[in-house]
């Protein structure tokens, strides 16, 4: 079976500045859920940005093969249309653009790029409403400008809604649990779990074992100083909760 995603000796730095990703290797097979845990400032969010093509980072080495193409050659929108989804740690507010219009444009831009039939407004509205119901997102939130005035939890639900609607092959969830109360954590996790399938893989970045009780990973990695320094099964998350990262800091140095 060909891997869904292969990161090979990836090096990246902030344009004109510090090196953040430092020889990272990772292979993810279809259907697998990998968790990444690591101390603040280790470069986890940077990894998610580099994968999704955010400007401002320079790739100084390595490659990322995703479903047969070198991801790093594509623009962010092409990566998304190819099946990559980044669930933002801090979703942005977009004044003046209604949530529904945003979702409509996103879905149809991707479909167009892939040569698929675009959704009509009624089709999309129906689909969004149905998904919204499972996530506790009401019609009013769909009419409002994207994320403007949304609570932290509402923003994360909104991210999950986008992910469920866009049906990507690979989801990077950057601290999907931050700012969520226990009920919202369940709602978001249920949404993510509903997406689990033999073709779809996930990379779950988190600081807390608790999220991994809901979204149970196949593999857990410890990430420090820009690369994976240790890999284990789901029990590794529990160990980390007890021991912290101290032993891996030295490994990285």
């Amino acid at each position: 079976m060909a891997p869904l995603l292969e990161i090979k000796d990836l090096h990246a730095e902030i344009a004109g500045g510090r090196k953040i990703i430092n020889g990272m290797n990772l292979t993810i097979n279809p259907g697998e859920v990998h968790a990444i845990m690591g101390p603040n400032g280790a470069g986890k969010s940077t990894l998610s940005y580099v994968l999704s093509g955010k400007p401002g980072y320079e790739i100084t080495g390595g490659e990322v093969i995703f479903r047969g193409v070198n991801l790093l050659d594509l623009s962010p929108d092409e990566r998304a249309a190819h099946g990559l989804f980044l669930c933002f740690q801090y979703p942005l507010e977009i004044p003046g653009v209604s949530n529904m219009a945003f979702l409509h444009t996103a879905v149809n831009s991707q479909r167009k790029k892939r040569g698929e039939v675009e959704l009509t407004s009624p089709e999309l509205v129906r689909k969004v409403r149905e998904l919204g119901k499972t996530l506790g997102i009401d019609a009013d939130m769909l009419k409002r400008p994207v994320n403007v005035g949304f609570s932290g939890g509402e923003k994360k639900r909104n991210e999950t809604l986008q992910m469920m609607l866009l049906e990507p092959y690979f989801c990077v969830l950057d601290e999907a649990d931050s700012g969520l109360d226990i009920d919202a954590l369940k709602v978001v996790s249920n949404g993510v779990n509903a997406l689990r399938s033999p073709e779809r893989s996930m990379l779950v970045i988190t600081h807390y074992q608790r999220l991994l009780d809901y979204i149970v990973p196949d593999v857990v990695h410890v990430f420090n100083a820009g690369r994976i320094v240790h890999t284990g099964g789901k029990e590794l998350a529990l160990e980390l909760e007890a021991t912290g990262y101290a032993q891996y800091q030295s490994e990285a140095a």
């Binding site: 623009s75 977009i94 790029k113 866009l166």
Partner: protein
Amino acid sequence: MAAPAPALVRPMKTGAELALAETFAAVRASLPGGPDVAAQRTAAFDTFADAGLPHRRVESWKYTDLRALMRDAKPLAPLPDADAKAKAVAAGSLFSTLGFRRLVVVNGTFVPELSDLADLEPGLTIASMADALADPTGLPASYLGRTVASSDAVLALNTALMGDGVVVHVAAGAAVTRPVELVFVTTAETPVAAFTRSLVVVEDGARLSLVESHEGPAGIAYQVNTALELVVGAGATFERVKVTTEGSDAVHLATMLAKVAADASFSNTFFTTGGAVVRNQLLLHLAGESVKAHMGGVSLLAGKQHADTMLSVDHAAPAGESRESFRAVLDGASQDIFQGKIAVRQAAQKTDARMLSRALLLTETAESCNKPELEIFADDVQCGHGCTTGTLDQQIKFYLMARGIPAKEAEALLIQAFVGEVIDAIGEEGIRTALAEATRAWLLGRE
């Protein structure tokens, strides 16, 4: 005609000024109107001749130096022939499906056969300005040049040379529900000049929605000097949207003079995408108390386009409320100027005036210029102004792209949202939709 001897011997400096003087001397006897109008024209031309074309040292024209921008004056457009009228049929296409009452002015002349003059609603009267000027008891005799005092040279030139236009009257209490659209179109294949003047009187308690569009051929350096005088009676409601999509080389100079009585509601929105040089000046006199005035504007500019909006709001009576909201989106090496003056006279206590202008620069070569001016003589007032100049938010753009939206489409979404705040304030839904579509078309046409 026993007009006083023209003062044409004053020293004129530029070729354009000399040409205008020649034009005036040549055509003054044949311009519409009786002796009173002729005297008004002469006085106005004297005002123009004294001042000359506005230049940098004229404060309100500081950023639009017409002496430099208008090198010559074009000959007056001839009366529209059959060919010109045929070309004008398709004009005003932005609103053509909305069923508005179209009144068409071709190359400066009102054309009844292209206009919809049938089944006028009760209380609505429409005439050509040329006809109305010839009537000593007509509306122009009572109102023209008497709405708001101004010594502006471009307006004076309009008064001196005004040929035709439209006169609209709405009787007291009449609510005209079908919007009236004034379509101004230039069809000339050679550079010409047109001086149009219109007058709209909305009597007490009446209601009118007016659309005005100005368009013409690309690549021809024609000149438009257009003016609208407006009188809004007590408790009346007036809304206007002026769309300027002139050709690429056109110079478009527009003046609006509006006098608004107590408890009336006034709204005016500019939407500008066309023309090489565009000036929209609006002098608003809030004569009665508790007037609600809204002024909006959207400029979408590219290449070397230059658009200048000059507003002067005169709060002369208590408890008036004025809102100004302007957005400019600037591509290429375009320039947008916003000058907003709010004057609050001593009598105008409880005035609430706010002004906001925001510019979005899409390139490093585009420029925006803001000049707010507050002149407040009353002590119990609220006045605020703000202006911002910025670029597209790259973080938000990345967020949109990360959802699969291509760069250009992402920018379009953000820019539509930026100007949407102004468009959404327009009362007529059909106009809102048409302008949103026009914005989108402009955005998708960007290089």
